[in-house]
Amino acid sequence: MNDGAPTDVDVVARVLGGDGEAFGILIRRYEPGLLRFATRMLGNSDAAADAVAESLVRAYRHLAQCRDPAHLRSWLYRITGNRCRSHLARRRTSDISLSDAPPLADATDTWGILERGEQVALVERALAALPAEKREAFVLKHVEGMSYEEMAAATGARIPTLKMRVHRAREALLAALEELV
């Protein structure tokens, strides 16, 4: 995976050594995933961009406090998840998806014939209906592809707790998808 690219540890050392521009390497490396994560959490791309930008600036400012640069990814997701929770706390859950989510698929459609855009909208809508902590657990596990160990580092929750959240999220999501289609 490395392909000669500097490791996170190397880049963090460069930034802390005075090469602030090296932080751009970390942005390019993690921005897509962080934006995807924040968008799934907030259901709104503008809010997600704000949350990720704030998180990255905060990460830069407090980079010396990153206790384990080898696990920088989890640290960045933790900061971003925190920013997302702050955003969510400032507005009602019901506001999250309805303004942004594309309209529901027609009730006569079936799963198999939904176009991809409609399918994504359907899933997004079902995801947005989940409580934030279950949504976070599902996204980290199944969208960001994290192990439970990484999720624990990114959220601070214990692994059994995370497993339970993911399991409940799957059940709720499956039920929501069946109901929506």
Binding site: L35, A49, Y148
Partner: protein, 227 residues
Amino acid sequence: MMAMSPIDPQLQDVLDGERDPATLSPDQREAYARLITAAESLQQAPRLSVADRVMAAIRAMPPVPSREPASRRLWRWLARPRAVTVRLRPAWTLALAAALGAVVLLPSEPSGPGTSFPIPGDREGVAQFVGHFPGARSVEVVGSFNDWSRGMLSLRDDNGDGIWHGAAVLPAGQHEYMFVVDGERWVADPLAGRYVDDGFGIGRENSVLIVRPSRGAVTSDGAGESR
């Protein structure tokens, strides 16, 4: 509202990567496929970028705190006037108290011929850090007073009894700190008396130290209480 029905534990195991999907029944496979498809549909990253915005903000900010070379920071630390007072942690047996007793009894001002304690700054104090880390190879203190930088304040365990200690001149006021053991394990001071969230929202806490301004004699204490 949706009616939530439990998913078979076997299916949960498969989705957790702990079981082969081939072991699922046809119904379970359908549910499995539906969830995997749903997750995959969410994996496309939004076509957004905040890179320019973030880098512009970073360029407008003061340098990250640890940009100052360690050698310069060390020199600044060494060159700063200081006085010696200790901060004792009384919980570790009489042996610890005895080990530190000599330090405790050090005068905070010059008391005889040849004694040359530097005069502390009016707004500085000296804190002594003590930690019990048997078997540790190194123990450092990082905190808000040294921008959480390692390599600035190392503790010593000269007699190998697992009790590490060291002192630092600190500006008066409240500081947050942590011990870094063996260069990788961050540990809060169990005897700090006060803790604050580390700001990253997952329940980790930094230890708090309050250093009072010096007026000839310095007092520094943990969480506002002399030890």
